[in-house]
């Protein structure tokens, strides 16, 4: 024996390779066989042999992969690497469909662009925790592969993929456990190439006992290499009734040199290992050499990178080793986890470190680590990971450090009161913490308070916390500087968002600066957060700008796999709103549905208010005023829950009043109006609502009077949308008064405001634009549509052409 087990030559399993060749001539090959059957080895041998596939995209599914998005991202990455598209690819245009669907489209388009032969290998698909949820999209991917692209999927058990179409078309082939089994002849060959002298009878016995199971044969060959009496080994093995894997693992381990045994047992708890980490866990140098030798010997050790620095054990092998370690050296297990945790923390791999600290049973230590790093993890969008780590703590054990972490979770889910309660506990605890941790905790607490104030719509509270964070940090270490940049970006995000809610002019600048800073310091999640809020803040801009900014934010979120998370919801919501203003109701509805899915885990009053507003708008656009009223009423309820109250929320009140009027209840609207204080009643949005009430009361002259101050610019408005609205209302009032010319002029002014870049169009074009979609500039247009008796855009086009309600110079 050398340092590692004798090199286990992969024998040329020509028949099997030929079978895979035949299989791979079809579109899709499924390799379905239990652990240790040799699925991976077959694929590697097939790919590595001369004349193998030119381009190969291998996507191994990580162990216990719970996150479907991570799976799709890995798939996209794998395809891009194989096609050299990484980096060069433009971010694809944002799509309203559910993320997984968009991802599959993107993978398919990358594959189509790859042109030419390419084999996509998805390994260990069974590791996906909920393959059922993925089945539909995966089926779509596999049944729509572009010409020249083949897929090989390996799994331990059959998955419910609906591939009957492929099967009927003769484009599906399956390789199963019985195909992978070593024949007696192959067993003989394996022994021969490894230099093991065993009689015919001995080889037959070995084959019979292992039933041709690849993992069993491998273990046996590693044990047999250099064995003084191979015949006796096989005889004893065959006489044993112990399971094949267990018997052979124990034998194989015992046959290893002490340092190899020690390394295998002491590193098996890790999901991946390198030489340095293995040296630390074994307490001896030289581990890298052993790992390389084990890898060369095909002894269940595979390298994970081309440089061969990281390795992992075959899953079955690792599972068996872990059991063996727990049985042989149970007392060493916690210490091994602790040491691994120490290494991971030193190398900045916090999540691995916390997992190992938990596995070591060091719950207070794990709580401390989690509290110290939760701020940074949150900035990277790892909220789900944080929640999973929190849930791994044993119930009942109370760790005051976790209050801070729980507050972050609450905040992410929009449970603002719970977040405040946990924050109070965290603050009390921080005061008792040792000085070195105190500052870090205080900074995290201040950042949380800042986010909490923002989510409550409390501008003054935001400004107060920003001032606290703005005070220069005492230390000047690298960590301090990093913390300083993080905090500055967080402060800009929250300040800009709060300003946007208050319709303050600095909002867009602060959010834009926040996005740039976040990109500079390598915090893409924070960048997406800023861009999503910037998209929302842009609703005061021309619709084309709003639409573009939101689409950019969504494309970036999609790229990182956050396209269906609360972080991007403001942009999804705002894009839907802009599309409604442009008359694209169906597309708006699809984006709104995607926004609904994204906010499923976030029930905060701020985002819920936005969702009710947009939902109400869509109903109003389609003339469903009763449903619109319900949505606006729900939004109004939420508005009162926010502190401040945010200025932009005046829109809710305005739309609520207008909808009541449209439903023929101007009296109720007037009563509500009377209850408003002077400041709010004087806002442009409420003036517009007054105009709607007047129109409902057949008082067009009153309506004109109500909007006059808005048109003159003498009352505050939250954005130019309000002025566009006022122009349209004036147009409607003029029409009611029989002044078609003034009505057209008002509509033209509305158009000029809404789309400044379109004003150079000819009068005729403006006229047709007006009657089609450009005049659908607000929810008030819902009332125009309702008067026309139509509900969607195409029929509006037709009706509008015949009626020309606001067209220039065309008498009705």
């Amino acid at each position: 024996m050398t340092a590692a087990p004798a090199t286990l030559r992969l024998i040329d399993r020509g028949d099997l390779l030929a079978a895979l060749d035949r299989a791979a001539a079809r579109k899709v090959t499924i390799i379905s066989a239990p652990a240790g059957s040799g699925k991976t080895s077959l694929i590697r041998a097939w790919a590595d042999r001369p004349g193998g596939p030119h381009r190969l995209a291998v996507v191994p599914v990580q162990r216990d992969q719970h996150d479907a998005q991570l799976f799709w991202l890995a798939l996209l990455d794998g395809v891009r690497q194989a096609t050299d598209a990484a980096g060069s690819a433009e971010p694809a245009a944002a799509m309203p469909e559910f993320n997984a669907r968009a991802m599959v489209d993107r993978v398919l388009s990358e594959l189509a662009e790859a042109r030419g032969p390419l084999t996509l290998v998805i390994e260990d698909l069974h590791e996906l925790a909920s393959p059922g949820a993925l089945a539909a999209e995966l089926t779509r991917l596999l049944t729509n592969l572009p010409p020249g692209v083949h897929a090989i999927v390996s799994t331990r058990h059959d998955l419910r993929l609906r591939l009957h179409q492929l099967r009927l078309a003769g484009e599906l082939s399956e390789i199963r456990a019985s195909d992978l089994r070593f024949s007696e002849r192959e067993t003989r060959e394996l022994l021969d190439v490894t230099g093991i002298a065993l009689s015919e009878a001995g080889a037959a016995l070995l084959h019979e006992r292992t039933e041709g199971w690849a993992a069993g044969l491998r273990l046996a060959v590693i044990s047999l290499a250099g064995h003084p009496d191979p015949e006796r080994f096989v005889a004893e093995f065959s006489g044993s009734e112990r399971t094949v894997g267990e018997y052979l693992l124990a034998e194989m381990l015992d046959r290893q040199r002490g340092d190899v045994q020690r390394l295998l047992l002491r590193t098996c708890l890790l999901d991946r290992v390198n030489g340095e980490l293995a040296d630390l866990l074994t307490g001896r140098p030289g581990s890298e050499r052993i790992l390389l030798d084990l890898g060369d010997a095909n002894a269940f050790v595979v390298s994970l990178d081309p440089e061969r620095t990281w390795f992992r054990y075959h899953h079955l092998f690792a599972d068996l080793l872990r059991l063996e370690l727990r049985r042989r050296r149970p007392k060493e297990v916690p210490e091994l986890h602790r040491r691994a945790a120490g290494w991971f923390i030193e190398h900045g791999q916090v999540v691995d470190a916390i997992r190992h600290t938990q596995a070591a049973g060091d719950w207070p230590g794990a709580a401390k680590l989690l509290a110290d790093h939760s701020f940074s993890l949150t900035l990277d969008g790892q909220t789900q990971t944080i929640q999973a780590l929190v849930q791994a703590f044993p119930p009942g054990a109370d760790h005051p450090e976790l209050a801070l972490v729980r507050a972050m979770g609450d905040l992410g889910q929009g449970h603002l009161d719970e977040a405040a309660a946990h924050l109070a506990i965290a603050e009390t605890y921080a005061e008792t913490a040792p000085p070195d941790r105190q500052r870090r905790l205080r900074v995290a607490i201040a950042a949380l308070k800042l986010s909490l104030a923002r989510r409550r719509g409390h501008l003054a509270g935001v400004i107060e916390q920003v001032r606290f964070l703005d005070s220069p940090l005492t230390g000047q270490s690298d960590e301090d500087i990093a913390l300083g940049s993080d905090l500055r970006a967080v402060a800009l995000l929250n300040l800009g968002t709060a300003e946007a809610w208050s319709a303050l002019p600095d909002a867009e600048r602060h959010l834009g600066e926040g996005a740039v800073l976040a990109r500079e310091i390598g915090r893409p999640y924070l960048e997406v957060s800023c861009l999503a809020q910037l998209g929302l803040a842009s609703k005061v801009r021309p619709f084309a700008t709003t639409r573009r900014r939101n689409r950019e934010a969504i494309a970036l979120a999609d790229q990182h796999g956050w396209g269906a998370e609360p972080v991007i919801a403001p942009a999804l919501n705002s894009l839907a709103g802009a599309l409604m203003f442009m008359g694209e109701f169906d597309e708006a509805e699809r984006w709104l549905q995607r926004a609904e899915r994204a906010v499923q885990t976030d029930t905060g009053p701020d985002i819920s208010l936005l969702m009710h507003m947009a939902g109400g708008m869509l109903h109003a656009c389609r003339g469903r005023h009763q449903q619109a009223l319900e949505e606006f009423s729900a939004a109004e309820q939420l508005r009162s829950q926010l502190e401040g109250p945010p200025a932009t929320a005046i829109q809710v009140t305005g739309w609520l009043l207008a909808t009541q009027a449209r439903l023929g209840r101007p009296g109720e609207a007037r009563a509500l109006l009377a209850a408003l204080d002077d400041e709010r009643a004087g806002c442009g949005e409420i003036r517009n609502a007054c105009a709607v009430i007047c129109l409902a009361e057949d008082d067009p002259a009153g309506a004109l009077g109500a909007v006059q101050d808005v048109l003159d610019g003498t009352v505050p408005v939250i954005g130019y949308v309000t002025v566009v609205e006022a122009q349209l209302l004036a147009g409607l009032a003029h029409r009611e008064l029989g002044d078609q010319r003034a009505a057209s002029q008002a509509a033209e002014r509305a158009l000029a405001l809404a789309e400044p870049d379109r004003t150079n169009l000819s009068r005729v074009e403006i006229a047709s634009e007006l009657t089609v979609s450009r005049n659908t500039v607000s929810t008030h247009i819902g009332s125009i549509y309702a008067k026309l008796g139509v509900t969607d855009r195409s029929s509006t086009v037709r009706s509008a052409r015949s009626l020309r309600p606001l067209s220039a110079g065309q008498p009705r």
């Binding site: 652990a35 399971t243 267990e246 079955l316 059991l323």
Partner: protein, 85 residues
């Protein structure tokens, strides 16, 4: 439709030694001919976890049987016998 915790017997090909048995601490092992029969009370998620573990360890599952008698229905014959190797 979770039937709740029930007593299960799970039959595996071969004799499980100390190492393999340590993977199933909640189950009582018994040898039966060339097989190992594991008995214990499991709820649904524990049962599926255990089946996954058997799968992961390369063991040959022969049969799963639910033992809790149901008052109003005949004894369930919930058995699986996948083929492996």
């Amino acid at each position: 439709m979770d039937p709740g915790p029930a007593r299960y017997t799970i039959r595996i090909d071969g004799h499980l030694g100390a190492t393999m048995l340590s993977a199933f601490p909640a189950m009582v092992p018994r040898r039966h001919g060339g097989h190992t029969v594991l008995t214990g009370v499991l709820d649904r998620s524990a049962l599926y976890g255990m089946l996954a573990e058997i799968d992961a360890l390369g063991l040959n599952l022969l049969e799963v049987r639910r033992r809790t008698p149901q008052p109003e229905s005949p004894p369930p014959r919930d058995s699986r016998s996948p083929s492996r190797r």
